[in-house]
């Protein structure tokens, strides 16, 4: 046992103090020390002994006594010991300050420590141990730079001062300069190979930080050899084990952690790690306990932050987002710089996202992204936030980046695809396809939703085969395959039962009875529905109907399937069945706006006006007026009502039109891009005569409508054509009608043919008009109006031919044939009127017959005249020919004569020239000189003469032509005379026409009234009238023709009806889309979690 000997003053004796038997009361010892004036080192040794035995109070008492002013005075020359005592006290208070958690007391301790060190410095400025102490104090206070300065002073004096080396190493470590720190630790170890284990701990930590894990591990293990209870080394080793990320490593690590915990249960780091572990094992209770302890025992920011983080995470995973958010926040608060510990930001972001605080979440995720610019999850989260904030482009940007950074993250591609769906279907499809490829490559099962979405996108792009493949892949194997391939043919059914064929579920019942398992997993409904929709598009409604019925067999509340079945039935004109199916849908949900809208439309088709209006109202109410379809339908209803009013009450008409306009405008306000509303507004405007504006609208709608396979808007083409027609631009109107017919109706719509015929009629292209009407009759033979129109056209054609100034006998003959046809048609109609086939007044038809017969009679003289005239013409032609021959002969004679004359003249000329020449010769000879000028003149003379000749010849030719002309005009005047004679017969005809016209227009009114049984027809009639009135001023025919057009153009203008029809595909398209998107929504919310 170690003993201490206190020398007794002024003697050789010593007092023996056994160090393990120090008195409990330090005062006893102090008395001895004081009495014997023991050397100060003894004081220190005793104090240290007390400290070692944990008797801190005694330790402090002795040292405080040993540093008192008396001692200073008495031992004033014993400097080192005094310094040592002061330093010991300084170190003690530094330690106290370091472990103290309360801020004020901590500071008090540090102040005391500082005081002691300063006192020591005052004794000897250069004492290294004081500097070391000061350095430690500064370190404890976190003042790394000054601490470093203090250690440096010591090391400058003695570069092997171990405490200073350790201190400096600590400084460097804190500065993050681990290799420097490591060097210092190494030197300390070299200088003092037996130094405490803590030095090796430092080495281990440095190596760990430098990434030299093996060497770090060695160092820690060495620490444990030296000091098996060293918690830090144990924890460090445990962490390293945990980070191996292998099951064995983790288990070993946890064992070490536990041992460390058993050794010292208040080591925050170990607590955090244990908490972390229990978080992953799901023992949240332990997590909370451990972290709470850790929080209680540590004041170290990062560690606390870690603890809060653990706690937050625990609550987060339990779904207590409020608490989790609070703890994340606390964790974040403990962090000075986000890069030290970024996880809580991520967690906080997630919680805020969950709680809907997108802005804060965004800022937190952005912080994470600053640290980890390539973190896909964060980018995806940010992308998602931007979606929620409506900044789609930014969202896409992030998603794109995420997919670029990790091109194997199928989830990111799926999300990117979801984002792009509304803006860029092509890119979305690409993203989905990539995701599918990745999943397939990875051997994972491709989710049904993804395949469904791919299918829908292909579908929308019109790539039906690819869409079908995709849907089939989504569906996988099942009972539906046999329906798709038509293996399971549907049984024979009684033809009278066929009325319910689209409601028949017996097929499946029979299948089940026969032992087949009819199964349809819930997640296959959507792809099956979409596949059925596709089959419809591919004109396989039978297959589609079986699939819809299969859905309904298993899921009777799937409204959309009812509606599609109703739609198929409607397309086949099976209105009764269609209505029943819609009622089935309404049984499931009597507020379903889609079903109500469809019902309204069907009621309209059934001529149930009042009911239809109520139904549309209900549909509109069911959606608080937000459903544009219902509003549009109401608008259409009002439009029909405006134009169907048989009594033509202008006031009522105006109110209805106004109401329609208002409704269209309302839809347009909600959805500025609604084509149908724009079209409706255009119609109302056209109705009011604003053709230019409506033309603009229609043109825009037409442009917008092209390019999407689901938007089929033939109406706008028709409307545009109507406007062209009304503006008198017949050629364009014809083109527009024809294009529309071909593009949308496979040339099967007799109504448009009728429009076309009307345009031809107005353009006075009688034959085209007739042919068009015949085509229409061929398509719709039961429409007697068409026959009537054809008759009128032929009649009109004949009349106009007879009125022509010039006509050949053939023309007149064909005219007569046409008239006979017209008579036949009219008499047919007249006869048929007994059978009440059509709504014509017999009297009126008789008038037509009468008129045609009159014209026919009148035509006979025409024919005779024409024949006569033809003969005359032939005679005249003969005469003319003879005249021409004579003329020719005369001309030839004349020419000959002229030629002779000419020749004689020329001869004379020649003679004269020769004489002149001779004369010239003579002169030349006389003068014996020649000048070039005279020569030139000579030649020019000759030229002149030739020119004169040619001119004369030309003049002659001219004369001949003039003569021809005069002969011709003579014939013409003769003809004109003949025509004039013909004309004299006309007035009679004209009168007949006029006489006839009066009753016609009157009959028209009757007819309109008779036709009201078909309100659309009546509507059309009125409409056409309105347009005719507009057209009339611009055309030359004017009033008379208007009367005509009224008589025959009772076109049931089906504009509104066809619009109704075409709205429907769009609706169904929406259905598909909605369905297609539903799973996406789920996927996103999953991800949020």
């Amino acid at each position: 046992m170690a003993c201490l000997y206190i020398p007794v003053q002024n003697s050789e004796e010593e007092v023996r103090v056994a160090l393990d038997q120090l008195p409990r009361d330090a005062a006893d010892i102090l008395d001895i020390l004081k009495a014997e004036q023991a050397p100060l080192d003894l004081w220190l040794i005793i104090a240290r002994e007390y400290f070692k035995q944990g008797k801190v109070e005694q330790f402090r008492q002795i040292l405080e006594e040993g540093s008192g002013p008396e001692i200073d005075e008495y031992y004033s020359d014993v400097r080192y010991e005094r310094i040592a005592i002061l330093n010991a006290l300084g170190a003690y208070y530094s330690y106290l300050g370091k472990i103290e958690t309360k801020q004020r007391e901590k500071e008090d301790h540090f102040i005391l420590a500082t005081q002691y060190y300063n006192k020591a410095s005052r004794i000897d400025m250069h004492e290294p141990s004081t500097w070391v102490g000061k350095g430690q104090l500064l370190l404890a206070k976190g003042d790394v730079e000054q601490a470093s300065a203090a250690f440096k002073i010591v090391l400058d004096g003695d570069r092997d001062n171990v405490p200073a080396l350790l201190g400096q190493a600590c400084v460097e470590f804190n500065r993050g300069r681990y290799s420097e720190s490591l060097e210092l630790y190494k030197r300390a170890l070299q200088v003092h190979p037996n130094c405490p284990a803590a030095v090796r701990l430092g080495i281990g930590l440095c190596r760990y930080k430098l990434g030299q894990f093996d060497k770090a591990r060695q160092a820690f293990e060495r620490v444990l050899q030296l000091d098996p209870e060293n918690v830090e080394a144990l924890v460090a080793l445990a962490i390293m084990d945990l980070h191996t990320n292998e099951a064995i490593g983790i288990r070993k690590g946890m064992e070490k952690m536990q041992r460390a915990f058993e050794i010292y249960p208040f080591f925050a780091m170990a607590l955090n790690y244990l908490a972390n572990h229990f978080f992953f094992t799901g023992q949240h209770f332990l997590v909370e306990q451990l972290t709470e302890t850790a929080l209680a025992v540590t004041n170290h920011g990062p560690t606390k932050s870690h603890s809060y983080y653990n706690l937050a995470r625990s609550y987060h995973s339990k779904g207590d987002y409020e608490k989790a958010g609070l703890y994340y926040m606390a964790s974040v608060k403990e962090i000075n710089k986000p890069y030290e510990f970024i996880f809580p930001y991520y967690g906080l972001g997630q919680v805020q996202l969950k709680l809907g605080d997108f802005r804060s979440a965004q800022s937190n995720f952005e912080k994470v992204l600053e640290i980890y610019p390539d973190n896909c999850e964060t980018m995806k989260a940010l992308g998602h936030i931007y979606v929620q904030l409506g900044q789609t482009e930014k969202a896409q940007e992030f998603m794109r980046k995420a997919t670029k950074i990790d091109p194997r993250d199928s989830q990111a591609f799926v999300e990117l695809g979801d984002l792009l769906i509304s803006s860029d279907a092509g890119a979305a499809l690409d993203a989905f396809k990539t995701a599918r490829g990745l999943l397939k490559k990875g051997g994972e099962e491709v989710p049904v939703e993804l395949l469904n979405n791919i299918g829908v996108l292909h579908f929308e792009r019109g790539e039906f085969e690819l869409a079908e493949q995709s849907f089939k892949e989504a569906l996988g194997d099942g009972i539906w395959l046999s329906f798709i391939e038509g293996k399971e043919n549907f049984q024979e059914i009684d033809a009278s039962d066929s009325i319910i064929q689209y409601k028949d579920l017996r097929l499946f019942q029979q299948l089940e009875e026969s032992g087949r398992h009819v199964e349809l997993p819930w997640n296959k409904i959507t792809p099956l529905f979409n596949l059925a929709r596709l089959q419809e598009q591919l004109y396989n409604p039978e297959t589609a109907s079986i699939m819809y019925r299969l859905i309904l067999f298993k899921f009777p509340e799937y409204i959309d399937a009812y509606l599609r079945l109703a739609s198929i039935a409607k397309a086949r004109n099976n209105i009764q069945l269609s209505i029943e199916l819609v009622h089935d849908a309404l049984k499931v949900n009597d507020k379903c706006p889609n079903a109500l809208s469809m019902l309204g439309e069907l009621e309209l088709k059934n001529d149930d006006w009042v009911k239809a209006k109520e139904t549309f109202r209900a549909a509109s109410d069911a959606t608080d007026g937000k459903d544009s379809y219902a509003t549009l339908s109401l608008g259409n209803w009002n439009y029909f009502a405006a134009i169907r009013n048989e009594k033509r009450n202008p006031k009522l008409e105006a109110t209805h039109l106004e109401k329609a306009k208002e409704l269209y405008t309302r839809v347009l306000l909600q959805h500025p891009a609604n084509l149908y509303a724009a079209n409706g507004a255009g119609v109302v405007l056209a109705e009011k005569g604003h053709f230019d504006v409506s033309k603009d609208i229609f043109t825009q709608v037409q442009e917008a409508a092209s390019g999407n396979i689901f938007v089929q808007m033939p109406d706008v083409w028709i409307n545009l054509a109507h406007v062209y027609f009304a503006q008198g631009n017949f050629a364009l109107a014809v083109k527009m009608y024809q294009n529309c017919l071909r593009k949308f109706y496979h040339n099967t719509d007799s109504q448009i043919l009728l429009y076309l015929a009307r345009t031809h009629y107005e353009a006075e292209q009688w034959q085209d008009c007739k042919k068009t009407l015949l085509r229409a009759i061929h398509l719709t033979p039961s429409n007697y109006t068409l026959r009537f129109d054809a008759g009128v056209t032929m009649q009109k054609f004949s009349a106009s031919t007879l009125q022509k100034e010039k006509k050949t006998a053939d023309e007149v003959r064909s005219t007569i044939a046409e008239l006979e046809n017209a008579v036949r048609l009219f008499s047919h109609l007249s006869a048929a009127s007994n059978l009440h086939f059509h709504g014509f007044d017999e009297k009126k038809i008789d008038t037509h017959v009468e008129y045609c017969k009159n014209v026919l009679d009148a035509a006979k003289p025409h024919l005779e005249a024409a024949i006569r005239e033809e003969q005359q013409i032939r005679q005249r032609q003969e005469v003319a020919r003879q005249v021409a021959l004579a003329e020719e002969a005369r001309r030839k004679a004349e020419e000959h004569r002229k030629f002779q004359l000419e020749r004689r003249k020329q001869e004379d000329e020649l003679k004269r020239v020769r004489q002149q020449e001779e004369h010239f010769q003579r002169v030349k000879e006389q003068w014996k000189s020649s000048t070039p000028g005279s020569k030139r003149r000579e030649r020019s003379d000759l030229d002149d003469e030739e020119g004169g000749n040619s001119e004369r010849r030309r003049r002659k030719g001219g004369k001949r032509r003039k003569k021809d002309k005069s002969s011709k005009t003579r014939y013409e005047t003769e003809e004109a005379e003949a025509d004039m004679m013909d004309d004299q017969e006309y007035p009679e005809d004209e009168d007949a026409n006029l006489n006839y016209r009066e009753p016609t227009s009157q009959n028209d009114q009757d007819e309109a009234e008779e036709n009201v049984a078909d309100p659309l027809a009546a509507a059309g009639l009125e409409d056409s009238d309105a347009e005719d009135e507009e057209a009339a001023p611009s055309s030359t025919a004017g009033r008379r023709r208007r009367a005509w057009s009224e008589s025959d153009d009772d076109e049931p203008l089906q504009r509104p009806l066809s619009r109704e029809n075409s709205t429907e595909p769009q609706q169904s398209d929406e259905e598909v889309r909605e369905d297609g998107h539903k799973p996406n929504g789920n996927a996103v919310s999953d991800d949020e979690d």
Binding site: G486, N489, E492, I493, D494, A495, S496, S498, I499, Q501, Y539, N540, P541, E542, T543, A571, R572, N573, N574, I575, Y745, H746, N747, T748, K771, L774, R775, I777, H778, P781, S782, N783, Y784, A790, A817, E820, N821, R824, L825, S827, H828, A831, A832, N834, L835, H836, F837, H838, G839, A1013, D1014
Partner: protein, 321 residues
């Protein structure tokens, strides 16, 4: 089972071709194709080269239907002006001009025995039967009007009779009308038997199977072809696939296939055992108004031929095997 295009004649008529039928071969010549058009002419074409043999004029307004007597000697054509012209195929001599006002005429069919000509009576909602020996009207088979109050204007026009077909034994007569109902008549007793329901849009063409006397094929504007057991009143099958109205249907002489022509500009061949379209011909550029299989007989008995005519003024001939 397939079709192979043999020959097409562009501008075979001056306007839309609306009707086609084969005139059976006689001892002196092989079968001829008879076509009717909006251009008011009826033309005869020799097979397989489709050489124009003759152009018959005389109709006013478009020619809506043509029919050939099973003997191959006489044929009939009907136009929109409600005249039926019966003529000698080889000489074009008019044998008779039939009309029964106020009834329109639409489709015409000779019975397999050749004794009677059935004419779809249009708005009269009846079939008119004419004796082919005397050319007298022998019977009018009216479609019973639906019960209820006074028939309205609309229901009248809905019953407009468009198409007729004789069963292969000549005992039954079927007709299709604008509202999609099909009516079956017992010819011997001149009695209406029953309706076949399932179509709700015009049935423009129907034909009995030559093999199964009960089996009736109907083509409708609802884009479907139905297969009925006409006696048992049951719907045997419904075939969809055309993208627009099905305008005409004909059954192959072997009874194994049917061909359809549609407004979607295609001709389709349907395998009856599979009840599915096996081939789609899209050589026409407008609605296909008529399809007709050549009846067996004469030279080249074994080779099947199908002709189609269209609004695009052309005629096409296919090899059916």
């Amino acid at each position: 089972m397939k079709l192979a295009g043999l020959k097409s004649v562009e501008n075979a008529h001056d306007d839309s071709v609306w009707a086609a039928t084969w005139v059976p071969a006689t001892e002196t010549r092989s079968a001829l194709l008879l076509t009717g058009s909006l251009d008011e002419t009826v033309r005869l074409w020799s097979s397989d080269e489709l050489v124009l043999e003759r152009t018959n004029t005389g109709h006013c307004l478009g020619v809506a239907s043509v029919a050939a007597h099973p003997s191959g000697l006489i044929a009939a054509s009907a136009s929109l002006d409600s005249f039926v012209r019966v003529f000698d195929v080889d000489t074009n001599a008019t044998i008779a001009t039939l009309e029964a006002p106020p009834s329109e005429v639409w489709q015409l069919r000779f019975n397999p025995q050749g004794s009677t000509l059935a004419v779809a009576g249009g708005g009269s909602a009846s079939i008119k039967l004419w004796d082919t020996a005397t050319w007298d009207l022998i019977a009018t088979l009216p479609i019973p009007r639906p019960e209820g109050p006074k028939p309205s204007d609309k229901s009248g026009s809905k019953k407009f009779v468009l198409s007729v077909a004789w069963s292969s034994d000549g005992k039954r007569l079927a007709c299709g009308s604008m509202d999609g109902t099909i009516s079956i008549f017992d010819v011997a007793r001149a009695k209406f038997l029953h309706h076949l329901e399932g179509h709700f849009m015009p049935v423009r063409s129907l034909v009995y199977s030559p093999i199964e006397p009960r089996l009736l094929f109907t083509a409708s504007d609802d884009m479907h072809v139905h297969m009925y057991d006409a006696e048992g009143k049951s719907l045997v099958g419904a075939m969809s696939g055309h993208e627009s109205w099905v305008l005409s249907v004909d059954v192959s002489p072997d009874g194994a296939a049917i061909a359809t022509g549609s407004s979607d500009r295609t001709v389709r061949l349907w395998d009856l055992s599979m009840r599915a379209a096996v081939q789609t011909m899209s050589n026409h550029t407008d609605q296909v108004w008529g399809v007709a299989f050549r009846p067996p007989g004469g030279s080249g008995v074994r080779t099947g031929r199908l002709a189609s005519v269209s609004d695009d003024k052309s005629i096409s001939l296919y090899d059916y095997s």
